[in-house]
Point group: C2
Chain length 78, copies 2
Amino acid sequence: MENINILFGRRIKELRLRQNISQEELGFRCQLSKNYVSDVERGRRNVSIKVVEKFAAGLRVPVYYLFKWHDGDESVHL
Amino acid sequence: MENINILFGRRIKELRLRQNISQEELGFRCQLSKNYVSDVERGRRNVSIKVVEKFAAGLRVPVYYLFKWHDGDESVHL
């Protein structure tokens, strides 16, 4: 499995681009700097779940959605 | 919305109890101490996503599943 920071960063970028917003705009929404957003998208930050929550709020999606990078995962239920 | 650390901790505990394993056993599986697991379950730690990944591996669920605390969230698709 790939590094979770890389997977998370890729997912943030994907959702940001789907909404057609810049890193600066996303940073503004999340109260994070543009550089921090850039670092996260490149997998260079091991963010805490408090920061994860900020991204979810900024992207207006539920938190779990930021970790849904494989459709196949959807079938798992315990 | 409740503090994400509280929600996350409650979810970890819920999934752990559903598998009938102790905090010690979960700690062993995740390579974390029993005390650390206990702190997380009480919402006293702001864990990083690397640690989130350890919990997912220890509980044998996909990462996103640890954040699925509201069934209502499932309807969100962008």
